[in-house]
């Protein structure tokens, strides 16, 4: 880059190592990260009632939000903003783009406060380097809610530095100049200087302290909240120029696929590579060592085939003669395991919450209702399967791929190769879907291990679709057992929820058997129901495969069970499902998360993010109104409603379903209401709701990973069915409740998924009288 920049030259090298090298400029003073400390006082009794439930997690005051994540948040403009002499503003996005629009959103926030001309903004993707950029683990629907404020501060600080540079040049007090759309202006004299002309001088000025930052009045926002800017990658995507993890190309690159054990925990007993090596293009066959359980993010191990192109590698793998030991999970069978879960769910489990007396109140209830809900394993099936390219030059490893957690990948690779982390560079390309799969960086480690085995030559490691479905990290399998006692008016007075599922903790801890507090904090504990007697239990369950995060995680089974069960209670009580749901939630009120046994609260402050029954009621009313709830429908059609709170966002969905005489199902319309606080980019919030709706329908209708003889029975999109256009709702209406930029933001990427399956099944019940309790629906409606 020829110009001078606010940080340093060289920002053109997108995603290259050290592209945004640290400048010889004063570092931002280490402003306090305990930004919430001062806000506790104003909340009075609520604070006293809440206490500090997180105290047991470690010494010292508990941190929340970005501060609770490794490396927290960085808001130094010298790290995130570079301005060339040509006026082009380069803004670093340190979070990974997987379709949520984060590259557009993060840059938009900085550009807004900077008062930059969007047409002169470019986005530069950060490599994995959390010490420099702050937390990069793009997971948990956290990017916007954790980085809205730090990115605003970055933009505001850069704007004030440019203003100070102009004031100094004109020898004027700084408060006489102001920023106006890529220029600093002095109104009395009419003088103006563009950002490009001021960048070099501005870069030499101290970064303003946080207390001296003047953030824009949201009423003056030109980009934020408008939804008018196009995606920064939209045109590249539409023309095939966008570069994904799988697209990295290096001179002399080799291509690899790996044969992994069909059963998780199996190991190679014997392999014969002679036929594989005869395939033209196959260069080498070599083993990748497996690690002992727990699996964590380690490669599974296996036999790698390295070739001069992908096809040859795939052909070579087919020609391998392989003999695997079965390992401890060879008997894993989904039919038998479902029965195990059912048996476990019918006995008491580890108690997480016990309020009032469930047994006594249920014993005297006018009516008792009981139901069990089942959801099988699911696979992320990102359209781009896991893929990464690695090379090692002079002891330094460089990797390219679609990583949700590039620093995580860097640390894993460094450890596996025995290198210091500083000698590993992880470049983040676009992710062709993430959904949690690419938080697990095993594929990056595989690429690095293979490059090392090939003396550092560049190696692209690719998972085929079959690898993805056979050897993935799966969404857990779960059984939810619910019981309720109703009083004479049909109101629930007693509520028992036993949730049993292999825990994600089992991926990191061989002894983990029970759902963790944070898993139950995804919609089992933190349900704002007005019921006096509540017991929450989780019986033990042994994992037999690698359990991983899947978009919205445990909220999927928990919301399915809870929101189906409330509709079942409404039916038992002879009440309208929506009115009954509102009545069970009770009046608008603020609940302390700890008061319902939730000490996790998505690692957010219970003061800033309490459980707000009023907001949940609000989305229910909005979705119902949008769907014209209560209107008469043709025979065979029905409306179903469900509402769920997840990732500190409130969402309700009304699904309209049509079921014909043969049991064939269509979804003419879905109405979704979302309260995620204020929106940076409402169009992307809408897009996330639309996509989550389709994904939610897919898992309800047909998706499942089932095990037999220890391995999945699904290999590709013929057997692992995901929704196609023919199954998408004809209409999806998204209603975004108004928000306030002065209040905390909620998550958006995940919370759209959980309400869809229960709303659909409630609609099916309304249309047909048939209650679906086990997913997927498959052919359960067929006669």
């Amino acid at each position: 880059m020829s110009g001078t920049s606010l940080t340093d030259a060289g920002a053109d090298a997108v995603a290259g190592a050290g592209a945004m090298a640290a400048p010889a400029a004063p570092a931002l003073s280490n402003v306090s990260r305990r930004r919430f400390a001062g806000q506790l006082a104003g909340l009075g009794g609520l604070v006293l009632a809440l206490g500090f439930p997180g105290a047991g997690r470690g010494a010292g005051a508990r941190k929340y939000g970005a501060d609770a994540m490794p490396h927290g948040a960085v808001d130094n403009p010298l790290v995130f903003v570079a301005i060339g002499a040509d006026g082009v503003v380069r803004i670093v996005c340190h979070r990974s783009e997987m379709g949520q629009g984060v590259r557009t959103g993060m840059a938009m926030i900085v550009a807004e406060e900077l008062d930059a001309d969007w047409s002169r903004v470019r986005v530069v993707q950060a490599p994995g380097d959390e010490e420099k950029f702050g937390n990069q683990d793009t997971d948990g629907s956290r990017s916007t809610r954790h980085f809205f404020e730090p990115m605003r501060r970055c933009g505001a600080a850069a704007r004030q530095m440019l203003a100070a540079a102009a004031a100094a040049r004109w020898e004027l007090p700084v408060d006489e100049v102001e920023a106006e759309f890529h220029e600093i202006v002095h109104r009395p004299s009419g003088r103006r200087l563009g950002y490009g002309a001021l960048a070099e001088a501005a870069a030499r000025l101290p970064v303003p302290a946080r207390r001296d930052l003047r953030l824009k009045d949201p009423a003056r926002f030109r980009y934020i909240g408008k939804g008018e800017l196009k995606l920064v990658d939209g045109a590249d995507i539409a023309t095939g120029k966008a570069e994904y993890g799988i697209d990295a190309r290096l001179p002399g690159m080799l291509y690899a696929v790996v044969a992994r054990a069909p059963v998780y925990g199996g190991t190679i007993k014997h392999y014969d590579a002679r036929e594989a090596l005869k395939i033209p293009g196959v260069v080498r066959v070599l083993p990748i060592a497996a690690r002992a359980a727990p699996p964590a993010f380690n490669p599974l191990g296996g036999i790698a085939v390295i070739a001069t192109n992908t096809w040859a590698a795939m052909q070579g793998r087919m020609a391998l003669k392989l003999e695997w030991s079965a390992g401890p999970n060879a008997g894993y069978d989904s039919i038998a395991y479902k029965a195990e879960l059912q048996s476990a769910a019918r006995k008491p489990g580890k108690v997480f919450r016990n309020q009032g007396d469930f047994d006594a109140s249920a014993a005297v209830a006018a009516r008792r209702v009981q139901a069990e809900y089942y959801i099988p394993h699911l696979a992320h099936a990102t359209m781009e399967p896991p893929a990464a390219t690695a090379r090692i030059v002079q002891g330094k490893c460089e990797v390219w791929g679609g990583f949700q957690s590039p620093q995580g990948a860097r640390d894993l690779i460094a450890k596996r190769l025995g290198l210091p982390a500083k000698d590993v560079t992880v470049n983040v390309l676009l992710l062709g879907g993430g959904f949690g799969r690419k938080s697990m960086s095993d594929f990056g480690v595989e690429a690095a291990v293979l490059s090392k085995a090939m003396d550092g030559k560049p190696v692209k490691l690719m998972w085929t679709r079959e690898d993805d479905l056979q050897n993935g990290y799966f969404h857990t399998v779960s059984l939810e057992h619910l019981e309720a006692g109703l009083d004479a008016q049909g109101r629930p007075v007693a509520w028992l929820h036993r949730s049993v599922a292999p825990t994600i903790d089992s991926t990191f801890d061989n002894k983990a058997r029970n759902e963790a507090d944070w898993e139950l904090g995804m919609g089992v504990l933190n349900v704002p129901f007005d019921i006096p007697n509540v017991r929450i239990e989780t019986p033990a369950a042994q994992a037999h495969t690698r359990i991983g995060w899947f978009r919205s995680v445990s909220n999927i089974p928990h919301a399915f069970a809870v929101q189906s069960f409330v509709a079942e209670l409404a039916a038992a009580a002879g009440r309208d499902a929506k009115d009954y749901l509102l009545e069970v939630i009770g009046p608008a009120r603020i609940l302390a998360p700890a008061s319902v046994g939730d000490t996790w609260n998505y690692d957010e402050s219970p003061q800033r993010y309490p459980l707000d029954a009023g907001r949940l009621r609000g989305v229910i009313e909005a979705a119902a109104q949008s769907a014209d709830w209560g209107k008469a429908l043709p025979q065979g059609q029905g409306l179903g409603i469900a509402a769920h709170y997840s990732f500190v966002t409130f969402i309700a969905a009304v699904v309209r379903v049509a079921v014909d005489d043969n049991g064939a199902l269509t979804v003419p319309r879905v109405d979704i209401a979302v309260d995620c606080g204020a929106c940076i980019n409402p169009d992307r919030v809408r897009a996330q709701m639309e996509g989550a709706c389709v994904m939610g329908l897919g898992l309800a209708l047909q998706s499942q990973i089932t095990f037999k003889d220890g391995h999945p029975q699904q290999y590709n999109f013929d057997t692992y069915q995901v929704p196609r256009m023919s199954q998408a709702p004809l209409q999806i209406h998204v209603h975004i409740l108004p928000g306030d930029f002065g209040k905390p933001l909620g998550g958006v990427g995940e919370p759209g998924v959980p309400p869809i399956a229960p709303a659909l099944c409630n609609a099916i019940f309304a249309a047909t009288g048939k209650r679906i309790r086990h997913l997927p629906i498959g052919d359960q409606l067929k006669a």
Partner: protein, 154 residues
């Protein structure tokens, strides 16, 4: 053998059973065409062969000699392809975007065959293309927008 891709002749020294997808991606550097399943189940690899949509992942290069292959990188040279690309951007169709090259190739082929498709035509033509992000409603809207804009032209 010789392949004609986006109007240019390329020599590729590969076994004839090599699928076009890997010739494009690994040998010719045309990475806009994506791998998704390898079995013609998802449509991510859709290209045009003599104007018809074809799944590159199961099409061996041996059958492509003397055929005109068009990929996403050049579909913008066609007026319909270019209009669809613009509509994709305008309506914010992509989320992760990985499948969208294949979607645009299928959509272009549809509009060339049926300039004014019904909703049912669109669903029928596009249901071979999976979008895991679930952008189907915007894809449908973008195709309908281009179809009606082209119909309105004199």
């Amino acid at each position: 053998m010789q392949l004609t891709i986006n109007g240019t002749q390329h020599s590729v020294e590969l076994p004839g059973d090599t699928p076009l997808l890997w010739a494009l991606r690994d040998h010719l550097g045309l990475t806009g065409t994506k791998y998704g399943c390898g079995m013609a189940l998802c449509g991510a690899c859709t290209v045009h062969v003599d104007g018809k949509p074809v799944r590159a992942c199961i099409t061996p290069i041996s059958v492509l000699e003397a055929k005109e292959i068009t990929t996403i990188e050049a579909i913008g040279e066609d007026a319909t392809g270019r209009a669809l690309q613009a509509a994709w951007v305008e309506l914010g169709v992509p989320q992760c975007g990985y499948c969208q090259a294949g979607q645009i190739m299928s959509a272009t082929a549809l509009l060339k065959e049926k300039p004014l498709p019904t909703d049912a035509d669109i669903i029928d033509a596009m249901s071979g293309n999976i979008c895991r992000c679930g952008t189907y409603n915007r894809i449908r809207a973008a195709i309908a927008r281009v179809a009606s804009a082209q119909a309105a032209k004199p």
